[in-house]
Symmetry: C2
Subunit: 221 residues, 2 copies
C-alpha cells in the first residue's frame, strides 16, 4: 500500500520546475515528433478539462498534415511554429447553442450517470434558461469563447509535465483559419503548436521569464 | 545522475489519474484548510501561466477572510463553496490597456532580460499597435477577459496534481463582486474555490464524468 501511495504522489518542486521550464517556443525542431502514445495523453487532458456547465461547447482540431499546416501558416502571419511543430491544435468555440445541443447533453448525462431524464429536468431548465439569457443578452459568443482557454491552460501544463514544448498563439486571422478548416458553427479562437524546442536557434529559449511583481498580481484578503 | 532524472520524471498515468480524480466540488469540508506552503505553490502556478504577449492584464484576489467570503456568497447566488472552501480566488481582467501599461511592461522586460529599451522598440510598437487596434475594434475586454482562463486551467490542474480540490465558477454577479472587492479598473470574470471535498455530503463526488464522444470533440487532420 505504501509503495502505491509513494508512486502516485507528485513532488511539489517537480511541478514548479516543469512550469518554470515551459515558455512560448519561438523555434521548434521540425525533426522531432511527439509520439502517438504521448499525444493520446495530451488529447485526454483536453477532454478532461472542465467547461461551463459541462457543455464542452468547443472543438479541437489537431493538425499534423504538413500540407494543411502550410495552408495555415500565412493565416498565422507566417509564424514558423505552425509548420515546424509536431502537432498544431486549433481551439474553436461553438458560436451559439441551441435547445438541441442541451437536449443532446442531457441525454448523455442521463445515460452516463444512469439517471432518468425526469430527474434532470431542473438542471435542463436551468441550462436552457442560462443559454437563452446569454443569447438574448448578446454574450453567448463571449462566454463560449472563453471556455477553450481552460483546456488550453491544461494542455500547456500537461505538455510541460511531460517535457513537451508548446506555444499558445492568438496572432492569426480567425476567418481564414475557419475557412481552411471548414469551420461554420465553430470559430477558431486560439492555436497551440506543440513539439520540441530547437534550443540553439530559439532566441527566447535562454531568456528569463518576465512577470509582474507578485504583490501586484495577487492580492490577499 | 540517474536518480535525479528518475525523480524529475512525472509518470503519464499519474497525470491522468489526477485529472480524472478532479471534479467541480459541490460540497467542501469547511474544517480542512490548504497549508500555506501548498498555497504558495498554487500562487506560483497562477504567476507562471502565460498570457497574451506576456502582459498579465489581470489580477487574482485570494480570499481567506471568512467575513469577505460571507459577503461574496450572495453575489454568487448562495453557493456554499464560497464560504466552505479554504481559499477563494477571484479572477479579474483589466478592462482596458493604456500606453502606460505597455511602457511599464517594456521597462520590466528590459530590466529582467538586461536589454536596452531601444532594442525592444519593435516589440513595444507591435504591442501598442495591437492594443490600440483592440480598443478601436471594441474587443479589448473580450480579449483581456479570456486570458485569466489559461491561469484558471493551470490552477485547476496544479491543484489536482497536489490532491487539492477546486470548483471553477462563473455563476455570480460580477458587478456585485467588483463592488465588494473594490475593483474599478478590473472586472471579475471567474471564481475558483479551493479546499478539500466533503465526499459524504457531495452528491457529485461519486458520479462519473460526462464527456462528448472523443471523435466529436477532437478532429484530426
Amino acid at each position: 500500500m505504501k509503495a502505491v501511495l509513494e508512486k502516485n504522489k507528485i513532488e511539489r518542486e517537480t511541478i514548479l520546475e516543469k512550469l518554470n521550464w515551459r515558455y512560448a517556443v519561438k523555434k521548434f525542431d521540425p525533426a522531432k515528433k511527439i509520439s502517438e502514445s504521448d499525444w493520446e495523453i495530451l488529447e485526454d487532458a483536453l477532454d478532461l478539462a472542465p467547461s461551463s456547465m459541462g457543455l464542452q461547447a468547443y472543438k479541437f482540431i489537431v493538425v499534423t498534415d504538413q500540407e494543411t499546416k502550410e495552408k495555415l501558416k500565412p493565416a498565422a502571419y507566417g509564424q514558423t511554429q505552425i509548420t515546424d511543430a509536431s502537432h498544431v491544435v486549433v481551439f474553436a468555440y461553438k458560436k451559439t447553442l441551441t435547445d438541441a445541443d442541451i437536449d443532446q447533453y442531457i441525454e448523455r448525462v442521463a445515460k452516463v450517470r444512469e439517471q432518468t431524464r425526469e430527474s434532470l429536468e431542473a438542471f435542463e431548465n436551468s441550462l436552457k434558461s442560462a443559454v437563452s439569457q446569454a443569447i438574448e443578452g448578446g454574450y453567448i459568443e463571449t462566454w463560449n469563447s472563453r471556455q477553450p482557454y481552460i483546456a488550453l491552460g491544461m494542455l500547456l501544463e500537461t505538455a510541460a509535465l511531460m517535457d513537451i514544448d508548446a506555444t499558445p498563439m492568438e496572432g492569426f486571422d480567425a476567418a481564414k483559419v475557419n475557412e481552411i478548416l471548414g469551420l461554420n458553427d465553430y470559430s477558431a479562437v486560439a492555436i497551440c503548436a506543440l513539439g520540441y524546442r530547437d534550443v540553439e536557434n530559439d532566441w527566447l529559449a535562454s531568456l528569463p521569464k518576465v512577470r509582474m511583481p507578485k504583490d501586484e498580481l495577487i492580492q490577499r484578503i
